[in-house]
Symmetry: C2
Subunit: 237 residues, 2 copies
């Protein structure tokens, strides 16, 4: 969604720029070191490629280092639904936690670079590093809260949902040190619509209106928030 973390040789958890956002946050120096030895680092996927598939074996929690992805769920009729968008610095893979089989598919929205904390190692590590399990549990809880926030959106009108969505993406990027008012909007209208439970035509119309009202500016895949207050006003009933 937003660019390109610096890629250095032999990046480990100890010198990773995401260390304060990723799993290591809250671990001691020595714990981060042992984490660094275990993590599978710098895997690359191109736009459109899958990071993991629904039905595949869960191999561990993944930390996105750069690039963004969409998480697709499958309903009982076989329709794919966008369940979440993942931004750089965020963790994904929680859909495999319960049964060890992924219930979702993760697709790169642009070139992504990620690390993985392998499952088997999690079990081993947890006994020697109790704080890790605490952190994982905490992160898992964040997922729960995020899903609830998402449910709240469903009570609102299409316009409010789109406004909330833009703000949310902006906030999430800001929390991770990226520009909050101008960023790449990698997903299609279709993806947005699926995520927000809105027809893609409606998304298009609303984005058009927002531009006409000079709340945002869209060029190519770049989005700029011109009037954040105005957008926020739309999210408050």
């Amino acid at each position: 969604m937003v660019g390109s973390a610096a890629m250095k040789k032999a990046v480990t958890c100890e010198n990773c720029s995401l260390d304060n956002l990723c799993i290591p946050k809250g671990l001691s120096q020595s714990e981060v070191e042992s984490l660094g030895e275990i993590v599978t680092r710098n895997t690359i996927r191109q736009k459109g490629e899958a990071i993991y598939h629904v039905g595949s074996e869960f191999k561990g929690i993944i930390a996105l280092r750069s690039g963004s992805a969409k998480l697709l769920g499958l309903d009982r009729n076989g329709n794919e639904i966008v369940v979440d968008f993942m931004l750089p610095g965020e963790l994904l893979g929680f859909d495999g936690l319960a049964t060890q089989i992924h219930t979702c598919t993760a697709i790169a929205l642009e070139t992504v670079n990620y690390c993985r904390l392998p499952t088997q190692q999690i079990d081993l590590l947890v006994s020697t590093m109790p704080s890790l399990s605490q952190i994982l549990l905490q992160r898992s809880g964040e997922q729960f809260d995020a899903q609830i926030q998402r449910m709240m959106l469903m009570r609102r009108t299409a316009e409010e949902r789109v406004a909330c969505f833009i703000i949310q993406i902006s906030e999430r990027l800001k929390a991770r040190g990226y520009a909050e008012l101008e960023f790449r909007f990698s997903m299609s209208r279709e993806d947005m619509g699926s995520y927000l439970c809105i027809a893609h035509e409606t998304v298009s119309r609303i984005m058009h209106n927002f531009q006409a009202q000079e709340l945002i500016e869209v060029r190519a895949r770049q989005l700029r928030i011109i009037n954040k207050k105005g957008l926020l006003a739309l999210t408050l009933e």
Copy 2:
């Protein structure tokens, strides 16, 4: 939602009828024993009373022994939204996991009886009992999956949502050994509507139609599924 687990003196995790559904599932004999010594047991709340409030300190994961509850989230305008219904044998409290502060309020829909695994003890136990953290993580993952299923519902028509909802409750009760075709439906139309993102009038109309089509029968708060296949047919596009 469904009645009254037997209440015996000195019920511990070892002889609890829910032991195969609750946290102990997957723990060894001795582990269940030490769990039993730590758990706060048999707390009672009457209908309408809170099990915990939004903003209050997270004190641990709760296992519902009997009775049912609703989980309320608060949107930014202060409106309460039903985020989930909890049935006997299910775990709740995950909304406090991330920040140690509850983001939801849990309200008893009828007299409930529950146990709690205190937080401080979780941290201690996890180091001596690695499988516990695995179980908690797994349960936490289930919550995630459930929320995704919920999102899927939002793509569907109001009628399909109500049909899915009834089936889901039925399945969840069945999984815990209760009757699947006849059970107590403790929540109000308002609650159902809030959960399904539908006006309560619409819920009422749809329930009426389902009765007219002889798919279900509703008397007082008791619900009976007459034609499960018919209901299921509605859930498949």
